[in-house]
Amino acid sequence: MVNWHRLANPKLFLTWSRRVLPWAAVITALLLAVGLYLSLFVAPPDYQQGDTVRIMFVHVPSAWMALFTYTVMAGASAAGLIWKSPLSHLTAKAAAPIGASFTLLALATGALWGQPMWGTWWVWDARLTSVLILFFLYLGYMAIWQAIDDYTRAAKSAAILALVGFVNVPIIKFSVDWWNTLHQPASVLRLDGPSIHPTLLTPLFVMIAAFTGYFIVLLLIRLEREILARQAQTLRRAQARG
């Protein structure tokens, strides 16, 4: 017998998600178009860094997504462990590849910025190393889902890893204050306000909004897929039992 009780909640979500998705996609596309235009055509070259400063407009939003996605993943995992709501673990599972991709992008675009400005692609300073660890945490999280067939066990193990690994998020954020890093300290999220000029800050914020919109669009698509995969599995099992 199909467990309709468990499906009820996701079903409601799907109706809502399919209604929201086109709107989120349109808003994200608009934000991306405006953000790219501002980043490449309107923002002036930095007086010290020249045009390499434009790398910031993809590097910082990628790094923001790397941390934001992990926070969503850890939050969803905690909710899954505490309330056992069926959508929580699937949300975390759907988010992981998005986070891994953006972590890799943050590292790669950072290298492309580091080479001309620092004279090196990579340095083992606290910021870069802790972000690399974040990337491995994402990989480990995804590997658990791959390795364990039983849904409940996989969900629980993956959630525990996500929560333990969350300790790395504040470490990344404050690594530039706690240690002597080649990476520059915070310039957007600081107590005395951003230290970046508005001509560079505006495109940056638009790009961050666009990336966040992209995350929502992608998460809705991936979460629906996870829900349908679970439903298919339930149906298959019901059919096998006759």
Partner: protein, 65 residues
Amino acid sequence: MESAVQFLDMGGYALFVWPAFIMVAIVMTALLIWSWRDLRRERQTLELLAERRGSGETAGTGNDA
């Protein structure tokens, strides 16, 4: 023409600026296409399963887009 060349040159940093933007564009596009294709495949699978089951119970879970 000259301004286009100047723009593409990125103040001499073209080899760093453009790969960064292109890399991000490729990964974001690929991730979107890959996820969307997975979703469509899953919708088809579910439809097929529901059909095989031969009842209206599961209609609406995977066939509207």
